[in-house]
């Protein structure tokens, strides 16, 4: 079935079998391989993207369900001039090691900071509880999210 969605501000479409998940459509039909396949059952969060303003496990969402929606993926954060503040903070604070959890982690962080610009440590942990990381122990990731929040706030001020 022909599925049309808006991804990172651009209208895209692909003819996919109905059982295709949003994750598979992004990775295999639209060449957006930022979202990852870590478990395929919605536990690890590496597939996290933002659909109509809410972060979701794209491995559990059918592409057909997402038709007509606005999707933001990791590929839509930076522009040709600059990194998104979250990407900037993650890089400066050395938040990622192998990087596999990165796209999902950053999308969850974006979802949090877009709604709650000054989250407490506990709120950051809660917001990221659907994103697993096996390398880092999470400490620098949490610091980077807090740091990015401050950067985003002072940009607005």
């Amino acid at each position: 079935m022909m599925v049309q969605l808006t991804i990172n501000g651009e209208l895209k479409q692909a003819d996919v079998p109905p059982e295709t998940t949003l994750l598979k459509m992004l990775r295999e039909y639209l060449n957006l391989t930022g979202a990852k396949l870590g478990c395929d059952v919605g536990d690890c969060g590496t597939c996290t993207v933002i659909v109509d303003g809410e972060s979701v496990n794209s491995c559990l969402m059918l592409a057909a369900r997402a038709a007509g929606s606005e999707i933001t993926t990791i590929e839509g954060l930076a522009n040709a001039q600059q990194l998104h503040p979250i990407q900037q903070s993650f890089e400066e604070l050395g938040a990622l090691q192998c990087g596999f959890c990165g796209p999902g982690m950053i999308m969850s962080a974006k979802n949090l900071l877009d709604k709650n610009p000054e989250p407490s440590n506990a709120e950051i942990r809660d917001a990221l509880s659907g994103n697993l990381c096996r390398c880092t122990g999470y400490t620098k990731i949490i610091e980077a999210v807090a740091d990015a929040g401050q950067a985003m706030n002072s940009a607005e001020a």
Binding site: M1, P17, P18, E19, T21, D40, V41, G42, D43, G45, T48, V51, E54, S55, V56, N57, C59, L60, M61, L62, A64, R65, S108, N111, L112, D126, A127, S129, G130, N131
Partner: protein, 290 residues
């Protein structure tokens, strides 16, 4: 995943007709957080998913004269964000908050959680103690039943073939009722409840006597359980620590926890005792300050 067809009807009648037409080879799709995982494992006879998540009657949180009506396809994220839920039904918001993680809460629906009907359904205890009623719609029209009658057994509800859960009503006089929900899992997030519990109650005009006490326990019986005997014991008694402690003992006897790889029945009994005390005590505290 095995191939299947997908259709998103825009009315309940359309959805019901599709399900009736296709029998065992069709099933309704809500948030997909359980169903899609199951289909990846083994699709069985399913070759058509009927997406019910956009049907207007199943969406939205509306304040009505009867009470607060929550559409079955409202997600846990939406419940947590809705001011009216935060103010009037905090125990439901608390229950929603313990489910999965942010991403699963943005997909998962109240209706899906109730229809999947596992004993540990985290949204159930709060709904039970707030006297929720569910509206079911099917080929023969709509019907409304108290939520206790909805849960029949593990993964078995009282939905008849081709019936769909339309909405959940929190009656007017349960809105704002002092209540508390707790969940205990092996982790703080993405955890199955070993035990979950909710209580609601009011205090009489003397500020001491328990009125309309409710206690519900999850994951410790084949279905989410209203602790009827405990409630009967509490009604009309003074809200003291001793009374609550005694009530907790009764709650332990009403529950039927099992040993499984997550915890022993004995450990679960200890949690029931502690949680029963905590949810009742906290509800009393709230009642005293309102």
């Amino acid at each position: 995943m095995r191939p299947f067809d997908y259709i998103a009807p825009s009315s309940a009648q359309e959805a019901i007709a599709l399900l009736a037409e296709n029998g065992d080879s069709a099933c309704p799709l809500a948030g997909g957080t359980d169903l899609i995982v199951d289909l990846k494992h083994d699709a069985g006879t399913i070759n058509l998913l009927v997406d019910v998540s956009c049907i207007p009657e199943f969406r939205g949180i509306k304040e009505t004269p009867e009470g607060l009506r929550i559409g079955s396809m409202v997600t846990f994220g939406e419940i947590m964000a809705a001011d009216v839920c935060r103010e009037m039904t905090p125990a439901i918001v608390a229950g929603a908050h313990t489910i999965g993680a942010v991403q699963t809460r943005n997909l998962g629906t109240v209706g899906g959680n109730l229809v999947t009907c596992v004993p540990s359904a985290d949204i159930a205890p709060s709904l039970l103690v707030l006297d929720a009623r569910v509206t079911i719609t099917g080929p023969d029209g709509s019907r409304e039943i108290p939520i206790e009658e909805f849960f029949v057994g593990p993964r078995k509800t009282s939905l008849q073939p081709n019936e769909l859960l339309e909405s959940i009503l929190i009656p007017q006089d349960a809105l704002g009722k002092p209540s508390k929900f707790l969940k205990h899992g092996l982790r703080k997030g993405q955890a199955l409840a070993l035990v979950n519990a909710a209580a609601s109650l009011r205090l009489d005009t003397d500020g001491e006597t328990l009125v309309e006490p409710r206690l519900a326990l999850g994951a410790v019986a084949p279905v989410p359980l209203r602790a009827i005997e405990t409630e009967a014991f509490l009604a009309g008694k003074p809200a003291t620590d001793a009374v609550i402690a005694e009530a907790a003992e009764i709650a332990v006897t009403e529950a039927k926890p099992i040993d499984d790889f997550r915890a022993s029945a004995d450990y679960r009994r200890q949690i029931i005792r502690t949680f029963a005390k905590r949810v009742l005590t906290r509800s009393v505290e709230i009642a005293k300050t309102t």
